[in-house]
């Protein structure tokens, strides 16, 4: 018997968490003497009020879908991949190498190659921590986070010493050829009012496809079955003849590959060149997205949309209300992560007892015996 109906678990609790986070954020805003109500309006308006806003919200959401799926897949095997940041950065390296190295005739083929390379590079970056976990028992949380720093340093080195255009002072690669540029929202959805400035691009559809792929993988294939079984009980997995080393390696390769694919959206779709620090924390937001989305692709999409809105709305907030600084916006985002991720049980436990007592009352009402 479950303690709560399923809808409460997957919809109500995240919703209450978000509301709580917004209430606390409002208090913080009020504390610095600004109107929380107006701040809220600016954020919602900024994220969803225009095609321009949507263009940014969905663009950020695309990043978070990739990194959120990456964390979610690893969660199913009880692996905590917090290396999405580094895997995405290295994925970007893969995209730059293949787009700069080959003269692509058309963006469709270039996109396929970019998917392949970003995923392969991201997966390769996850492979070392995965191997260390599988064979040496080195904790994957520690190794993946260390690999984030290595990735960051490596990218700086390569951008400054290898990719930098001669004569340029900026640590970034040359622009990719025009032919490889992905269609933007104004190309495929201009009729909805998307202008050329919105960064939303074709990678959004790749992200949605990845969701379908992950759903099929986890719930419909033998491999997904083995991943989930391994995540629930390692001894039982061994009993059933499931090889733990194999599952850890494959799961982390898939996870790293998904994180790496985030580069398609940013590097190929938006910047159209490899720039420094393009991941901008999306790897870490992916953890909150996966937690809030209950490691289910549909949940990941919804949570990614929320965080996309927070990013875009937050940017508007800085612009419209100068008293609210960039750091302030980060505080609001952090509060949402805190409430939806870390403080999940704070909401969950009272809700569980509430539903329990509701059910008792209902049953007491049904039975005819008088209570004492």
């Amino acid at each position: 018997m479950d303690k709560m109906p399923k809808w409460a678990d997957i919809i109500l609790i995240p919703l209450i968490s978000v509301v709580l986070a917004l209430v606390v954020s409002g208090l913080v805003v009020a504390l610095i003497g600004e109107s929380p109500w107006r701040a809220m309006q600016v954020m919602v308006q900024g994220a969803f009020g225009s095609a321009y806003g949507w263009g940014y919200t969905l663009y950020y959401a695309t990043n978070f879908i990739f990194t959120g799926l990456a964390v979610a897949v690893a969660f199913h095997a009880r692996l905590f991949n917090i290396g999405g940041e580094g895997q995405a950065a290295i994925g970007g390296l893969g995209v730059a190498i293949i787009l700069l190295g080959v003269a692509w005739p058309h963006w469709t083929i270039a996109l396929l190659a970019a998917i392949l390379f970003s995923a392969a590079f991201g997966a390769a970056w996850a492979a070392v921590p995965a191997y260390l976990q599988a064979k040496r028992g080195s904790h994957i949380v520690i190794t993946t986070i260390m690999f984030n720093y290595i990735a960051s340093a490596l990218l700086v080195y390569l951008l400054v010493n290898v990719f930098r255009v001669e004569g340029s002072m900026a640590p970034e690669s040359a622009r990719f050829a025009e032919a490889t540029n992905l269609p933007t929202a104004s190309d495929f959805a201009g009729f909805l009012g998307f202008g050329t400035s919105a960064p939303l691009n074709f990678a959004f559809f790749i992200a949605l496809l990845a969701c379908v792929g992950v759903w099929l993988l986890i719930w419909k294939t033998r491999l997904g079955y083995e991943i989930r079984a391994f995540g629930q009980s390692q001894t039982a997995a061994v009993y059933a003849g499931i090889n733990p080393t194999k599952i850890i390696m494959i799961t982390m390769l898939i996870s790293g590959g998904l994180a790496g694919m985030m580069a398609i959206n940013v590097v190929m779709g938006e910047a159209e060149r490899l720039v420094l620090d393009f991941v901008e924390g999306a790897g870490f937001v992916g953890i909150a997205v996966a937690l809030m989305g209950r490691s289910h692709p549909v949940g990941v999409v919804l949570a990614a949309l929320l965080f996309g809105a927070l990013y875009q709305g937050g940017a508007e907030l800085q612009f419209e209300m100068p008293a609210i600084s960039r750091e302030m916006v980060v505080v609001i985002q952090a509060l949402v992560i805190l409430f939806t991720g870390a403080l999940d049980n704070m909401v969950r436990m009272p809700m569980e007892s509430l539903f329990l007592s509701l059910r008792r009352r209902r049953e007491a009402g049904q039975s005819q015996t008088p209570a004492e």
Partner: protein, 515 residues
């Protein structure tokens, strides 16, 4: 002298969980200084009743009287104040604390530990002598045997001045001799005026130690009788509601060709040699029972044959064909493909994924079988149909393939494992503790399934710590001690005493008979 008030009296206790009426109008009275047994199948409501008495649950209706006084017990603190102590089936001890630290945990006198520990050590010594509960106060819990850990649990309760002790399935984890020692302790406690409630499903224990016994069935207390006036068969009938076969009925074995041949098998795990050169063989149509105290290598024997761990030496052949023991070319799935079924010792940690629904568990280990797949994807409809079919034939209740494994009772969980592993009629079946934590009705069913498989001409390796089960099912019995087999006996030519000595490593009970 007037008759003293009973130590515990329950009046009209009722408790429902959702639609399930776990306890229905239960009244019970236990006299001071007696041992009262409560028997019933899994899910009969024994644990719920005791949880109410210990303040974990609040009864919907009913009253509790302690020593004649109405005593509401809203939480376990109130239960402790009322002098009630509970020893759980799974111990609640801090593994890396010493005995004395565990005893005072939650009952410290102040912020500084030294005075509490000194006081506790003195009291422990007194209690140990008074009740024969000998434990080294400074031993670390994880270094103690299970039997000694249980003593610490009892000491913990006595330290809290418990007059009424509730023991929930206390012998489930004990060896026969440890269980005997526990019973001596309980008798001492009784002589000193303590009141003891013993929850168990082992009828032999009820007969051996209790003064009175109550039978629970489907949430109701159906009978309360004096132990001297009843018999195991009668109790079993009251528990299940029909006549039950307590002895396994089987025809003599008709052994055929050798199916499994194990030669000088060695397993090292964690730097310790757990199997030290084990050799035996099993023929088609016979059951070899391995008796022994838990932890003497039986687990490793099952795991190495089941492909879960590699061996460091020796050889195993199935139908005269070698089996890879290095673990490099084989695992649980290749063993299953060779016709080795494996009902593991621990269904909750090994045999089932508790969070998976029943149908997903029915494919566990066989999930690569073509009949469960269509191309790249698993064929969920086929697995669910197979599950529904197995549930019907193996009497799994409730027969709902969509229910998560953890929501089934222990007996029904085990039936799911048994159905999965036995339904393919494997040439060799490895069975570990097939009826641990399983109710009487299910035990009868599982035993008959094992015998039926044997009668189909299959070889069966049975590992159990229950001597009754070994004696009842096996065609040959081998005793395992310290990673070695201590010799073989025929069930008809041995007895529990002899096996008990072999289990303790004493070999000179007879001069020959070793394999």
């Amino acid at each position: 002298m007037t008759t003293p008030a009973p130590a515990i009296e329950l009046k009209g206790i009722s408790k429902a969980f959702g639609p399930v009426q776990a306890n229905k109008d239960i009244s019970m009275s236990v006299a001071r200084g007696t041992i009262h047994g409560i028997v019933g199948e899994n899910g009969a409501g024994k644990s719920t009743l005791m949880s109410i008495l210990y303040g974990f649950y609040k009864a919907d209706r009913g009253e509790i009287f302690i020593n004649g006084k109405p005593t509401p017990i809203p939480d376990s603190q109130a239960a402790i104040r009322a002098g009630i102590g509970m020893v759980h089936q799974h111990f609640k001890l801090v593994e890396n604390f010493t005995v004395v630290e565990n005893v005072i945990l939650g009952a410290e006198d102040g912020a500084l530990l030294t005075p509490s520990i000194a006081k506790a050590r003195k009291l422990l010594t007194e209690l140990s002598e008074e009740y024969g509960l000998k434990v080294d106060p400074d031993a670390i819990i994880e270094d103690l045997s299970v039997g000694h850990q249980q003593r610490v649990e009892i000491l913990k309760q006595l330290y809290r001045h418990a007059d009424i002790l509730i023991l929930d399935e206390p012998t489930g984890v004990l060896t026969p001799s440890e269980a005997d020692q526990l019973f001596r302790i309980l008798e001492r406690l009784k002589e000193e005026g303590k009141t003891i409630i013993l929850i168990t499903h082992k009828l032999r224990e009820i007969m051996e130690i209790t003064d009175t016994v109550s039978v629970m069935r489907r949430g109701e207390m159906t009978n309360t009788v004096r132990t001297a006036d009843t018999s195991p068969a009668e109790l079993a009938e009251m528990m299940v509601g029909r006549k039950v076969l307590l002895r396994v009925e089987k025809a003599p074995a008709q052994p055929g060709d050798v199916v499994l041949k194990v030669d000088n098998l060695r397993v090292v795990r964690g730097g310790v040699e757990r199997l030290k050169g084990v050799s035996f063989e099993i023929r088609a149509g016979e059951i070899l029972g391995i008796a022994g105290v838990a932890g003497n290598g039986q687990t490793e024997l099952l795991e190495v044959l089941g492909g879960m761990i590699p061996a460091q030496g020796g050889s195993v052949t199935l139908h005269n064909e070698a089996i890879d023991l290095t673990g490099k070319h084989s695992d649980g799935q290749t063993r299953r493909a060779r016709g080795i079924g494996h009902v593991p010792e621990d269904r909750q940690d090994e045999g089932l994924i508790m969070a998976f629904e029943a149908w997903e568990n029915v494919a566990f280990g066989y999930h690569k079988d073509p009949k469960f797949n269509s191309g790249m994807l698993m064929n969920h409809a086929a697995i669910k149909a197979d599950c529904a079919d197995k549930m019907a034939r193996y009497d799994v209740r409730p027969p709902n393939p969509r229910l998560p494994a953890r929501n089934f009772s222990g007996g029904n969980q085990q039936k799911i494992v048994v159905a999965r592993e036995m339904d393919r009629a494997p040439d060799l079946l490895l069975v570990g503790q097939p009826t641990r934590g399983v109710d009487i009705g299910a035990i009868e069913f599982i035993h008959s399934q094992i015998i039926a498989l044997r009668d189909q001409g299959k070889a069966i390796l049975l590992v159990s710590v229950e001597l009754d089960e070994i004696m009842g099912l096996s065609d040959r019995i081998a005793v395992m001690f310290d990673g070695k087999l201590m010799g073989e006996r025929l069930p008809s030519e041995t007895n529990e005493n002899e096996l008990g000595l072999l289990m303790a490593g004493v070999t000179d009970t007879r001069t020959e008979g070793a394999a």
